[in-house]
Point group: D2
Chain length 344, copies 4
């Protein structure tokens, strides 16, 4: 069986594994206060083009989203997010468990617009009964989005401007950031993101690391006491250096910016095969995830050889199927898959 | 100015006020453990046709919803409710502040169907990634609903059957229960509700009391430790007898079952005036709330003499306007309003 | 049976009841936005000697404590309080249910000192592992304290100075404030409290009202969005005017400042009777609560005629018994009780 | 500098690292549903002598405590724990952040007794105002305790019996379990713990793993929906197999039962050196942690060569200093430390 259902089926990228092995018997302080984490922070600051950002390392994505959102919102505030957002749908109510409502905005392609944010903010203020409803307190987006789409630089700039005008911190979930940055039609850089977002995270787990996410805080007022939030939500890894060592390896020579390129190219080959076969896309993505509306027969046929991601909704009776590549997907498996798609 | 914007503009019904005055200098224990509360509980048990229900008195609606829902759900569970439900829209995230997601179901008229509940429940179980999403743990409905509609006995029976089959406690918010029971086309009785729901509350604040709601628990497994939940959420009134005294007066001679009849008749007269004038309803209600789509000019004209409820959404540019009567609304004011509507 | 177990066995003071009756058929907006509440706010501002304080009305004490504390603390912060504080012991974990630890300080008499606060604050900062422990975020005191003692003006001034130096908002729970202000050895005034505390509440429930507490916010940064907090925690009374009407009556002619004097005098007579009888005090109080260490026989004897408050702890096998008077306690009952104490 | 301040300064035990490297390029499903986790579960079940226990893998200790406690308690319940417990002191209020009070019991040596639990439980029931206080809902202990002491089998049996009689689930935090099992005076086995506790965790992070803790649930009623709790609290590792692989290696050949023996022997040598030097112990421990009351001069002298753990309290002005060994501590470093202690 070949794995195309998600991008966390492998271990660590060899370069990271090598460093984990080399440093295994070193002895350091815990909780992210070691030299590896310090160096990784410095490398990330440089990659962001901003020496003043705070950088913290956490283990996983849901944990990171919880910690960031809990550290920003006051109790009566909620977070604006796409109705398809990861926090909205796939985190078992982790955000609500912190006490906050997710103010879900309609989204056809996983993005939300500055106009939506502005309208929600104004309507809340103008309602006359504001205090009977949840106050919007921040904005959550992801890049790439849940269905693999991207914000352009112009879109992110406009969203950022709106958020700053409304006093809403803008948070970008970068679980798959490396796939977004590697997409052929992407025009955003890491320094752009650092400039336009108030806080974001650089995804490791899906982008070469065995585990780990790096939170970058650019807005000064959000920096205070973040380590308390990490600890309170169970995210402070005792041997925190394991995170620092991996992010050092990802950012020392720019590995993070190219290790996902091949995966995106693979995904675009799958996209083309689906198109040629006339299988309708669920959404048009140029990243490592491709969503298509297979017939049940087509799906059943492919599932004999491939693990695929099956979403829990259907469109006109057709399952939404995710084909997902990652930095470690073998080219031969993509060759075989595209052949099998065409032969459906 | 005349008040038609909501049903809590008056004090207490004279019969209740009289008893509050008569008993004011009596001295009793606190926290609802006094003879008035005991007697009110007995009267409510009788009115429900069930000697085994537990009855608790709280001060207000949001507080009651919080306390009930917190006492039922486990942390990873959410509450199924209409997207227009009071808990969904108008409680400043009180339910999320308890840690629970509201699983909002689409609803054109404020009701939800047994088919919706069953489908949600099944989809959750069948999703293959159940534990990545919030588990439905109970069902919240209101009677009348937020826009003033009613469940028929058949509908409530079907919903109740589904909930019991799925193991989901059914909770009915009866903030305006007396208006629902008094509606001409209603076929539900209080004993029916006590039989079909696992827990519900009999609204006092909007139905004759100065304040107060009576929670009725019919399902044994929900009875345990409910007083802890009341206290923890700030709902245990020190001079709890003030609640008991009012509910005694509401249920001693069946006052609760007829004090809202006139308000419903008044509302239907307003409904008729709106119809005759050709003003489109937003929804068809037979209770004390009537929602209509006025033009901005019509609204501006009426607002010179009347306080009206303006919802925060519009339909095709027209504001949704609520005309609300209550047990204390003077007939002459309704006469005048209907004349003014016809003269628009 | 005569009631000396607590100070909430009566209804409302006649002056308040009169106004509730007079205004019962008036019609007003809800949620505390009515003219009665506005006027009560103005009267309280004047009584506090500060025209800029914000005033909000809530129903009960636990609800008020929850709402205030939730509105101040960030998630990783806790509240410093005496180990005997009401929030520490008698609110079913309401503060923890909001997510906050109570940082309990040892207290022999119910008060905490500025030295304790300063030491806790410094130790936290100096611990080297601050983020592994809860950060102190505010200070809770009560006046009178749980066992009926008082802060002097000098003590409160010193505590206030320390809190401000440490950046810890100081919150005073005034559930029995009127009894404290009426104590013969008290040297604090309401304007003093308004000057020295950042937020406090003027207790109504135990001091003449049927129910109700008035939160006064003096510190500007704590004022923002407080109504959201009230609504989210279920404390926004629909017919909010019932609170305003009562506080108007309490503050229109200074009733609040003298209606509890007699109760304090009664309590001091009980204190003297206990002393004369040689019954050891549990604590030395000059307010309306007197705590004494009765023998079990003495307690059994008195309990034939009197309801008394029995604490859940004992001192050397002797139950801690509370004798509590209130603004409505009849003098003849105190006469009889003191006679019976002396005859033990 | 040599490290004696804690037991998480190293990476993974070589046997675990080897397996992580060997399996790195394998591809598996995520979220702990892979064959490595399945096998590790089977091995742990066997080691517990109970084929029916549920086993779940999490990343760290605070996260595990949060998840377990949240999954057990109802909102109005708290957890009984020693005042020195890890959850009480060192988790930044993580348990309170879930909404639960920690009911701290006095403890001279880190253990709590069955008599304490029974008394607390009875006093709560008998208080007459139970619902005004937090209900005890479970018991938390650790083995070894925070200061390194152990429960005997008889003590744990008695505590377990009491908990079961009172209906309080007993949870054992085994962060350093391997050090406890390896202590010379220990008479408890893993099957004993599995029999006497309702839920516990086998610590990995401090006992040979790079990270990871294995929760074992023995009581059937606690098994339901535990994976929801893991996900909701951010503890479901995407590449969950990393946990399974490590626990496989720890339990395949009994490594877990002997890899900490040397560390305990080293600690006892340090203990002896301290004794010989006349340095008073803070507590008498026979595990890998030794706590002693050094003078400030002694501490300053040792800190030139050694990282030591300094507790945030002092005893009579003397700092409480922790000497901590681990499975990877070199014998030569212990030789040197003991020499230096004797030469103080």
């Amino acid at each position: 069986m070949m794995y195309f259902q998600c991008d966390y089926v492998d271990g660590a990228h060899p370069a990271l594994l090598k460093r984990l092995v080399e440093t295994n018997s070193h002895r350091t302080s815990g909780y992210g206060l070691d030299p590896y984490c310090e160096n990784a922070r410095a490398l990330i600051r440089r990659a962001c083009g901003n020496p003043d950002v705070d950088v913290h390392f956490l283990v996983g994505g849901t944990q990171t989203n919880m910690t960031v959102i809990a550290s920003i919102l006051r109790p009566h505030q909620g977070v604006l997010a796409a109705e398809t957002g990861h926090i909205t749908c796939h985190e078992t109510g982790a955000i609500e468990a912190l006490g906050h409502k997710i103010l879900a905005l309609p989204s056809a392609d996983g993005t939300i617009t500055s106009a939506q944010v502005e309208a929600y903010y104004r309507d809340h203020l103008d309602s006359g009964v504001s205090e009977h409803t949840v106050q919007p307190g921040m904005v959550y987006i992801s890049f790439p989005t849940e269905p693999g789409t991207l914000y352009t630089k112009a879109q992110l700039k406009e969203l950022s401007d709106t958020c700053r005008r409304c006093g809403l911190p803008l948070y970008l979930d970068g679980a798959r950031l490396a796939y977004g940055l590697a997409a052929p039609d992407n025009d955003l850089t890491l320094p752009d993101i650092a400039e336009l977002c108030d806080i974001f995270y650089i995804g490791g787990t899906k982008c070469g690391a065995a585990f780990g996410e790096a939170v970058v805080i650019t807005k000064d007022s959000l920096k205070k006491d973040f380590r308390y939030a990490i600890k309170q939500h169970g995210g402070m890894l005792a041997k925190g250096r394991l995170l620092g060592i991996q992010f050092e390896a990802l950012f020392a020579d720019g590995l993070y910016f190219h290790l996902c390129r091949n995966a995106v190219e693979q995904a675009l080959r799958i996209r083309q095969a689906l198109e040629e076969k006339g299988i309708p896309p669920y959404i048009s993505s140029h990243t490592n995830q491709q969503f298509a509306l297979l017939t049940k027969d087509q799906l059943a046929h492919l599932e004999k050889k491939y693990y695929l991601g099956i979403w829990d909704r259907t469109v006109e009776g057709r399952p939404i199927v995710r084909f997902c590549t990652c930095w470690a997907t073998p080219d031969e498996e993509v060759d075989e898959l595209t052949r099998d798609i065409k032969a459906l």
